[in-house]
């Protein structure tokens, strides 16, 4: 059911360039200024957003609109880097619901490209055990299955993952109660092991 639905959504996404105005393309150009061409990030602290579930995109953008998630200021990474620094909250505030839907569909349709990153093999091995034990149920297939409608972990930028773990830990970002229980049980070494594991998925 989900697959069919996602396929429908992907088909819709494919149709968007034909249907929607050039607005989506213009918006995507904006987003890619930090998130990289085709939404594949080249910066360690900025996540790859291509290929994530449409639902996750929409959810994230709405949460940013509510400023219920940390939104650090950041310079543009590519394109016209002279543009002033901005944050996800500021960007989301400018988006209409239709923009959010359109962007989400567009990025969800793009392929998820795992980042090529350096990682520590031992830490990655320890991280794999932790993942399989505690995280795999919701972040299946090494955390790369968009059908889970949870964040993509495997192959995601490691710097961003570290920041996210920290945000969960200090409570500045909301998480499901079940996840909170599990994260609170992790040590700092466990978190680092997980980050290296996800970085090792290439």
């Amino acid at each position: 059911m989900k697959r069919i639905f996602l396929f429908v959504l992907s088909a819709l996404a494919l149709g968007i360039p034909a249907l929607a105005s050039a607005n989506v393309d213009a918006l995507m150009q904006e987003c890619n200024g930090c998130h990289g061409d085709n939404g594949v990030s080249q910066s360690s602290d900025v996540p790859t957003i291509a290929g994530l579930a449409e639902f996750v995109h929409v959810d994230a953008l709405f949460i940013y609109q509510d400023e219920a998630r940390p939104c650090a200021e950041s310079e543009y990474r590519q394109g016209d880097t002279s543009r002033p620094a901005t944050s996800m909250c500021a960007i989301a505030a400018e988006l209409s619901e239709d923009d959010i839907d359109a962007l989400a569909a567009a990025y969800a349709a793009l392929p998820y490209v795992k980042a090529k990153q350096d990682f520590d093999a031992d830490k990655a091995a320890a991280g794999k055990d932790l993942h399989d034990q505690h995280c795999d149920r919701c972040h299946s297939e090494e955390g790369t299955n968009p059908d889970d409608e949870a964040g993509m972990l495997g192959g995601q930028q490691m710097g961003y993952l570290r920041d996210t773990f920290a945000a969960y830990a200090d409570g500045s970002r909301e998480q499901p109660g079940k996840m909170q229980e599990k994260l609170e049980a992790l040590s700092a070494d466990d978190v680092e092991a997980l980050v290296h594991y996800y970085g090792s998925v290439q």
Partner: protein
């Protein structure tokens, strides 16, 4: 450490541990089943969950506590937090909770499990529990192809509610981004019907309009959204024409006026409808070289049903408007002529017969016809031979059969048309009867013509083509016509009649005209491929106009004017039986046809003409026979007027 200190530490630790553990009603420590033995947990989606993981507000002390019901956020949201946010932003926000769709919490099955409340087969009940108004939503879906594919054919990949509407983020249909929004219908339907979507998108005018974001129909406009019927059934194809006609009004009108439209309306399941010629998903304007109705391609299109056709066949104008001279000038001229003839004949005889009717009524009341009606002498004189009587019966039978089977087609949207067709056994049976009766008509015409020729040229009978016994119109007829008018207007006596009066001659000669016109045009319609192998396609359009208009002329004339002239005049009331008996009372004959009577008397042949009076049985049979046919004719006459008034 000393032993007592060690022991105290351990004891303290144990107590602390016990204290900690008893503060949480972890099911490993509290056996929920001890009190809640009746709760069965059969959820396949959450097989490893413990009670506390959902019932987050249960503590050890809950036996005495008044527990508030948990919100979805507090129970399901412990894991599925983002889903709750998504639902909140959808049309179900504040309206439906997790369990409204996913079922009882202790029985939540995995979505892929067919037993799940949100599995394709169960969604109808789950969603339909709230969305049962209008009934078309659920009942329509169940009766439609998607519902049948799912529930009758067992195809679990057939679309159910969530396939089109989404699951957690269902948006209102009016919202432009909703998958079910009008403009998104092609992609939504096309996600399964990929080949059709490709065809429609690239090869149809509607698809081009959609791609250009212009107004135009999409899938749901023709196929509906919930009650999607099989488009190949007769009912769907018939309704399809109305659907297309919603925008293409003038084409619907001309289609309805054509044979395809008429016959389809009456149940001819093989009759062509819009999609048959224009294709369902590749419809293009006729000037597009790729269009199925482009002049270069239309022969192949017609050839789907019509075998052995030539290019001229394909030049027949399916959407002909005979009243428009720009459409086809030849057809227009024919239509103009036929309509003028109709109006002229009906006006002429209408006035004539109304005047006659009032004069006859007055005459009856004055007793002018008493003597001939009394017929005191009891003598009868022969007027028609047996072969004439039989011929007339054949004419009546074939004519009424043609009228019964033909008028419903002409007036196919009249209230009585479908019922009459059904009484005749359906449209196919009706067509068959019509053609048999047509053959009968050609037959009697041929027999009669041969008989006339035999009498004139083989037997050398005199006076057949000129003279008082001839059907040829002569100066006396003109004089009698004006004489009759004067008589109707109380300005003179009734002109003395001879063997054939002018209106009887008209009745007779009109049959030649009628059979020729309607017969030849009928042959064109029966064998269109043959005739267009040497004639242009517009001759079929002309044939259609002639056949249809002449049918109205012939039936209208017979049922109103002929019936009046020969059977229902007040002086003949209730019915003139002469054509069934072949004889009339002598008094009547003397009164109506004094010139013929005098001629017979002068020639000394009166005795040859005098015959036995008919007996009671013969008169009764003649009345019965005549009445049946008169009544059928009158009913059809009423039907014609009814149809013309409600057109």
């Amino acid at each position: 450490m000393t032993t007592p200190v060690r022991f105290a530490s351990l004891l303290l630790a144990a107590l602390a541990l016990l204290f900690l553990v008893t503060q949480t009603a972890h099911s490993q420590d509290i056996d929920c089943g001890e009190c809640h033995a009746d709760v069965s947990f059969t959820s396949t989606a959450h097989p490893d969950l413990t009670c506390h993981e959902c019932h987050t507000n249960v503590t050890a002390a809950h036996e005495d506590a008044d527990l508030e019901p948990l919100s979805d956020e507090e129970s399901c949201g412990e894991c599925h937090a983002s889903v709750g946010r998504g639902i909140g932003r959808s049309v179900h926000g504040g309206e439906a909770g997790c369990n409204d769709c996913h079922g009882e919490p202790h029985e939540i099955h995995e979505v892929a499990d067919l037993a799940s409340a949100v599995s394709p087969v169960n969604q109808i009940q789950s969603c339909g529990g709230c969305h049962d108004d209008p009934p078309e939503l659920i009942d329509g879906y169940l009766a439609g192809e998607h519902g049948k594919a799912l529930l009758l054919s067992g195809l679990i990949d057939a679309p159910s509610c969530s396939d089109c509407h989404g699951d957690h983020r269902i948006m209102a249909v009016e919202k432009g981004r909703a998958p079910t929004a009008h403009g998104n219908s092609p992609e939504l339907c096309g996600s399964c019907h990929q080949l059709l979507f490709e065809d429609w998108k690239n090869m149809s005018a509607h698809g081009h309009a959609w791609q250009a974001e212009e107004e135009g129909p999409v899938c749901v406009d023709c196929h509906a959204s919930h009650e999607i019927v099989d488009p190949t059934t007769y009912n769907a194809r018939h309704a399809g024409a109305r659907n297309c006609g919603g925008c293409h009004e003038e084409y619907l009108t001309t289609f309805r006026g054509s044979f395809h439209g008429q016959a389809l309306h009456l149940g001819l399941s093989g009759g062509a409808t819009c999609a048959d010629c224009h294709t369902p998903h590749k419809n293009l304007a006729a000037d597009d070289p790729a269009s199925s109705v482009h002049p270069d391609n239309v022969l192949e299109t017609c050839g789907q049903c019509h075998e052995d056709i030539t290019p001229a066949f394909a030049t027949f104008d399916v959407h002909s408007d005979p009243t428009n001279p720009e459409d086809n000038f030849q057809v227009y001229i024919v239509w103009l002529f036929m309509t003028s003839l109709l109006i002229g004949v009906f006006a002429f005889f209408g006035i004539h017969d109304v005047l006659w009717l009032q004069r006859s009524l007055v005459g009856v009341m004055r007793g002018e016809f008493d003597e001939e009606r009394r017929a005191e002498s009891g003598q009868w004189i022969r007027r028609f031979r047996r072969r004439n009587i039989r011929m007339h019966v054949v004419i009546i039978t074939t004519f009424l059969l043609l009228a019964l089977t033909g008028l419903p087609l002409k007036f196919h949207d009249a209230a009585w048309a479908q019922t009459l067709i059904n009484l005749l056994g359906g449209i196919d049976s009706t067509r068959f009867i019509h053609r048999i009766a047509a053959i009968g008509t050609f037959g009697y015409l041929l027999v009669h013509v041969l008989e006339v020729l035999k009498r004139a040229f083989i037997r050398g009978e005199k006076g057949m083509f000129w003279g008082p016994n001839s059907m040829t119109p002569q100066p006396k007829d003109v004089a009698d016509f004006f004489g009759n008018l004067k008589y109707f207007l109380y300005m003179g006596e009734r002109p003395p009649g001879d063997r054939w009066t002018y209106f009887e001659k008209f009745d007779y000669l009109a049959v030649f005209w009628g059979v020729a016109m309607i017969g030849i045009s009928g042959l064109f319609l029966w064998f269109p491929a043959f005739f267009t192998s040497f004639l242009p396609g517009w001759t079929l359009n002309v044939a259609h106009v002639i056949h249809s208009d002449e049918a109205l002329l012939a039936t209208g004339f017979i049922f109103f004017f002929h019936f009046f002239h020969t059977h229902l005049r007040p002086e003949s009331f209730p019915m003139d039986l002469v054509v069934f008996l072949g004889k009339i009372p002598l008094e009547r004959f003397k009164s109506e046809r004094p010139l013929e009577y005098q001629r017979i008397v002068d020639s000394g042949e009166l005795d040859d003409y005098l015959v036995e009076a008919p007996n009671k049985r013969q008169i009764r049979d003649a009345y019965r026979f005549g009445s049946i046919f008169l009544i059928i004719g009158v009913i059809l006459g009423v039907f014609i007027v009814w149809a013309l008034l409600t057109h």
